[in-house]
Amino acid sequence: MNFNATLIGQSITFLVFVWFCMKFVWPPIMAALEERKAKIVAGLAAADRGKHEQELAQKKAAETLHQVKQQAAEIIARAEKRAAEIVEAAKGDAVEEGNRLKAAAQAEIEQEVNRARESLRGQVVELATAGAGRILKRELDATANDELIKDLVARI
């Protein structure tokens, strides 16, 4: 083993190479690796977040759907109730109207009856007057007997 200046040459070369590696080789590669690591971490986090958000949206959609369904059912129920109410009200109105019509008809009938009775009464008076005149075969003073006849008529 001859030791010579190669020893020094090799040492200097070694230190220069290490310096170069430390300045120009190691940092860029490590930086790229770190950057990729950060990118992957961010990507994974984003994927997780996306998944979470999708789950939330799905949940929300289901909730909304449920709500809407409930609302629709409520509206339908209310409408049905209202329809039933309207039918009931219409029925009541109809009955009332019927009753009213019936009452009016009855009143009219009563009026007609009264009128008929009045006219009948008049005719009876005339007939009675004529009959009495004929029976008595005498001239009667219409005026003297008027009170008697009126009393008679009122009693009919």
């Binding site: 001859n2 010579n4 190669t6 090799q10 590696c21 590669i29 490590m30």
Partner: protein, 292 residues
């Protein structure tokens, strides 16, 4: 390449000799001139101020290759889906980052790039071992270069260059994190401790001796482990390559052996690079940690 003993020895020696450049010493025929060593004796004669040109060239070349390839990925790195090469680089970087996180408890921007550089660079240097041992030396021979050792990590200068740099960092961080007093205390007040001040003082030299050995053993074992493994592996490849000079049957057997050893060696070169890196991280972690 013949199987004759003296040429075999020459062949092995030839493959294990670095291309060394230095000044020839006094007494040599080229005394005072600068030039490439022609033999191991020449290289030894150069003394310290010479350089293994092949080791330096291959080690710098592979380091530049590593930085160029990784810089390419770093420049185009984005957080989007990575392409093929970027994907591979990211895989390696994440592997290193995991290792550092697992072994290094403090916060230090230097450790991870240091570990990456060590792992890939040492791996590439070790990988040169898988090239058939004669290819590049033969090419060099054609070009008129006498010796060429293509695996930088079989040169102790290279492995010690790495481990001593790591050792300097260990010392630097020890002093930085614990202070001079803390570091000296760690060297002298452990592992033996006593309540009695006098006994404690007596323990100081013993502790210092033990801890110094522990400390020095770190860079030495770090580099020798890598060097030993790669040198032995290379030696086996060379020995297998010797068989090609024998009979047809021996050559075929050698081919089979080389294939097997190369496949096994893929594991060793990766493992050695990984061990070098992990131990560096652990040493730096120990240096940065406060005791008690």
């Amino acid at each position: 390449m013949s199987a004759a003993p003296e040429t075999s020895a020459l062949y092995i020696k030839h493959h294990l000799t670095n291309l060394t450049f230095g000044q020839f010493p006094a007494g040599h025929e080229h005394a005072g001139h600068w030039g490439f060593a022609h033999s191991v004796q020449d290289a030894a004669g150069f003394g310290f101020w010479s350089i293994n040109v092949d080791s330096m060239l291959f080690s710098i070349g592979l380091g530049v290759l590593f930085l160029w390839l990784f810089r390419m990925a770093a420049k185009t790195a984005t957080a989007d889906a990575p392409g093929g090469w970027q994907n591979f680089v990211e895989w390696v970087v994440e592997f290193i980052d995991d290792s550092v996180r697992g072994s290094f408890s403090g916060k230090n921007a230097l450790v991870a790039p240091l570990a990456l550089t060590i792992f890939i660079w040492v791996f590439l240097m070790n990988f040169m071992d898988l090239l058939p041992v004669d290819w590049l030396p033969w090419l060099a021979g054609v070009l008129g270069v006498g010796h060429l050792k293509v695996v930088p990590s079989t040169d102790p200068n290279i492995t010690f260059g790495l481990s001593l740099s790591v050792f300097v960092l260990v010392l630097y961080y020890s002093v930085k994190m614990k202070g001079v007093g803390g570091f000296v205390g760690e060297l002298t007040l452990m592992p033996f401790q006593a309540k009695n001040k006098v006994v404690q003082t007596l323990f100081i030299p013993i502790n210092f001796l033990l801890e110094s050995v522990t400390l020095i053993a770190k860079p030495v074992s770090l580099s020798l482990r890598l060097f030993g493994n790669m040198y032995a592996g290379e030696m086996i490849f060379i020995l297998i390559a010797l068989m090609y000079g024998g009979s047809m049957a021996l050559g075929a057997f050698g081919g089979l052996l080389q294939l097997g050893w190369a496949i096994f060696h893929i594991l060793i070169i990766t493992l050695q690079a990984f061990i070098f890196m992990t131990l560096t991280i652990v040493y730096l972690d120990m240096a940065s940690q406060e005791h008690h």
